[in-house]
Symmetry: C5
Subunit: 264 residues, 5 copies
């Protein structure tokens, strides 16, 4: 999980916690029936809205996307430049030895296609198709999170309405009014907290992660096509650098690929 | 109806039910005049918004879409591969015998066109036209559900306003205040519940179902065109597999079509 | 007016009426100053937003669109098929005798152009221009209705604020509180009712009507072009049937045009 | 200012005024500090959002657009037809004498270009560029008005929050509660009134005015191009009439240009 | 920082301040725990939504964009006209001497490319790529500000819910009710103020600044391309003036470039 998410969640709940213990008993804010209606209602609505496989798939997608380790762009370009130098000197088959050192399955698959001598159009179509399905899965995850972020406050409000009606029909003892209303408001609190501190920001992070991952994969495709065409390392670097802003591009100039390639 | 919808509706209403009986008498929440204004107002607004045929058509569309049994993509591709093998060996007319075993009317119609020797462009146009009207009907159903989801809370609020005014004009007996307000809030509760647990998520499901059904039909069109062109089973499979992500594509490699075809 | 609109308005106001008399005196809900501020404010805002001619034009547009009698698609195609048969046998001039039996001015104008021997491109341009201005007028009417639907609740709220301030500044007699708040809430009730039971759904109906009327006119243009090109009745039917879903298309197969044409 | 805006503003404030004096003392609704926070906050936010030149430019743009006298389309076409007749008989230079009778600077500029013998493409580009910048200024004015319409209710609510907190911290004398809350609500009233009776509808009018003025200018461009090409008056009329719906087009048939031209 | 932003922020907070001290003790409105939950919650949600580098990058982007000194368009065109004259007389290399007087890094880079004799297509691609990344950074900054503007009121409401529950569970002493509710409302006040007086308008200003800066850079690209093509100063001016409305264009006619160029 990226560090910002961890800090955000930890810091956010600390603020809420401090805010609560400053004015009231924390026990008042832990109310299981209120959780049931807010979280249960939200999950029910999500199940009705989406298919079971989409719903069950959300956890792995979210986990994978949040924990996906974004590689350095410069390292990626450097690697591809090296692969292209190897491919030019020793032929595409020589890349096969490199595959065992790579961890990203998409990169492995891309290079394997070059090794297999697939033609350029086929590589491009296959990989962009792959990227397309990845994006669609990300979009699906994001939509489910957004729906949960819209649904949680609604069920919070429904819970509060139930609590208010319950309180209003038992007004005999005025001492109960305060406690009754307090309990009624807890569900609205739960709904607002879940939506604003978890679902809405996490949906946003999913979108940003998806964009980064897509960019990374498009750079790989660009590089692999250069390699499969037998382009010079400099040409491959230039292809990939169009995805990078000029400022960051300068820093990539020092090429240590030639040495590294001999080692390989 | 897909299992997620059933679980969601059952689980959702259980949460509401448990939540109610935990704090109040369930009888308080069953209030026929409140139902009349919320549901009646919503239905009236829907009738004014849409045409009578659209309104009456919503029930069958929703039912059909929710209960539509999504066939397995792999089975569909397998079947089409078999049909293409049959067509190549024994001629397109031989497909006619297969039609009796098929349940999907769209697939029957598609294959019948091949049997009838219609030219490829005509088949494509007719079937995409068909898909277009299907999507339009789905869209219509979705829009009506969404309008109901927006209308129900509004009439809930209108009901609450009526209840509040009624209560405020009869303040003589302070004991009535609580009960009056409780009754007034019931319509808001009904409106929020109908919108958030039924109409909004069901409209979402309709959209997802529509997308799946459209995809399925587009795969059929792609396959049928391959068959009508007399393509090899492998070519037909590849045409249809562009609709499937690479991961799921691997699993489809084992082709048992040749044996099956002889049986057929 | 289409039957759904009549049923919806009648049923909707009945629900409101029953709901009111069930709990309070109906007289409480008839409050002329509250009507003044809600309706008057809404009309004022609409006048400021739109031009006077647009504002005055809304009534006839709405009336015309709601009362426009949607002809049967099948009858329309049947008629056009007959006209094409007549035109092929007896020449385009023979269509002139048919014009007196037609009620739709758009259809009359379209056929008159064929009779006048206008060239096909001119007919197409003129008629699509006509359709374009019709759609624009519909869109204008829809926008005004939607603006009213957004404005009415706002002025309802403004009225309630005025009522609350009035009540709060005369708290001396606590007996007035209830009555004062009840009156204050009436404007919100008016605004919500006008928006949700009239303006928003009527704007929706205008949109649906506009779509139907546009489709009908596009079918006429398609048919008239076929006639002006001297196409066979079957070709004209096929042109027009692309606007109809396949299911409804079958029913149109029986052509009684040849007999009918001889009669004509 | 167009008559609808004047009627709307006058009628709207009358409704509010009558509504107020019916229930309360008008003095209660005139509260300078409340105006300060609602209007001052809104202006501050607008200054932060837009640049100073945009903010200062809003008044003249709004004034110009609202007071712009929409000329009659038929008169415009008639004039252009006359100019084209003059140009054809006596040459483009003869148009120069007409310029002194024209009030619209855009029309003067357009004809001057013809007189100067500019080529058609240059005229078209210059004038469409001009129209583009006009639209952009209109759009800017509209956006500022819309932002004010969104900002005013927010600062109304902020004022109410300040008032409520002030009232709640001085509850010692219960007699103050009513007056305190009444004052607190005044800012919400101001914000809602400014937004719904002024800024939102005026932004709408700006949009409609912009559309009309653009249409008028596009008609002028179309006509001027016809003149510069030396087209016949009828051709110029037909060019310009494509902007007019067929119904209004008939009325333009009587051409009195020939006589008028001789007079000129 | 542009003057409008400074005036707006100063004037806005003055209005709030005057409004507060008019009715209550200013100390009531300075409540640290309320700030913690509103600001802390908002920052937490922003961290969860965006990546750490985006979050940390917001401050410099906002600062740079707000403080970016918008150069005069007329001066920019004048300068470019001069550069083009120099380039035509003394060759592109002569521009190098001018670079030391320029402060805008983008302009320096653009001219350097001309000096370096890069071909026109390369210059265009590089510079538009640069502009694209600038816009993307601006967009990112704007999105973060907008998210904060949406998040602050939500955490304000969450804080108010916590405060209300705390108050309602300690109703024993009725004297606390007013103070408790006052404190509870402070967080809503903070959230509304931050959103409406800071984040939402500042996001708007970022957008307007971004548009201006982009326009300026596109004008530079246009001018530089003209210079690199060896176009005459008048042609360069005309290229750049297509970005300026005709009214402002007249004022640019007096060209003092020839004298200035000799000086250079």
């Amino acid at each position: 999980m990226d560090i910002a998410t961890i800090i955000g969640i930890f810091f956010g709940f600390s603020c809420i916690f401090i805010s609560i213990i400053g004015g009231a008993d924390i026990a008042v804010f832990v109310h299981v029936p209120s959780m049931l209606i807010t979280v249960g209602g939200m999950i029910s609505a999500t199940l009705i809205h989406f298919s079971l496989s989409q719903f069950l798939g959300i956890a792995p997608i979210v986990k994978k996307t949040l924990f996906w380790k974004m590689p350095s762009m410069q390292k990626l370009i450097q690697d591809m430049v090296n692969y292209s130098a190897i491919s030019r000197r020793d032929g595409a088959l020589a890349l096969e030895k490199q595959l065992s050192d790579i961890h990203d399955p998409f990169l492995i698959k891309s290079l394997q296609m070059v090794v297999d001598g697939q033609d350029q159009e086929f590589i491009e179509n296959s990989l962009f198709n792959e990227i397309h399905y990845l994006q669609e899965r990300h979009q699906e995850g994001k939509k489910i999170m957004e729906f949960m972020g819209a649904s949680a406050p609604s069920f919070g409000m429904i819970g509060t309405l139930i609590g208010l009606v319950a309180m209003l029909t038992s007004l005999d003892d005025p001492k109960n009014i305060g406690a009754g209303m307090a309990v009624a408001l807890i569900t609205t609190f739960y709904g607002a907290l879940l939506a604003n501190l978890l679902f809405i920001p996490l949906a946003g992070k999913l979108g940003i992660r998806s964009k980064q991952e897509t960019l990374m994969r498009e750079m790989i495709v660009e590089g692999v096509i250069g390699i499969s065409k037998g382009e010079a390392p400099t040409a491959v670097r230039e292809r990939m650098q169009t995805f990078v802003s000029a400022k960051n591009r300068e820093e990539l100039k020092p090429t240590i690929d030639m040495n590294k390639q001999k080692v390989a």
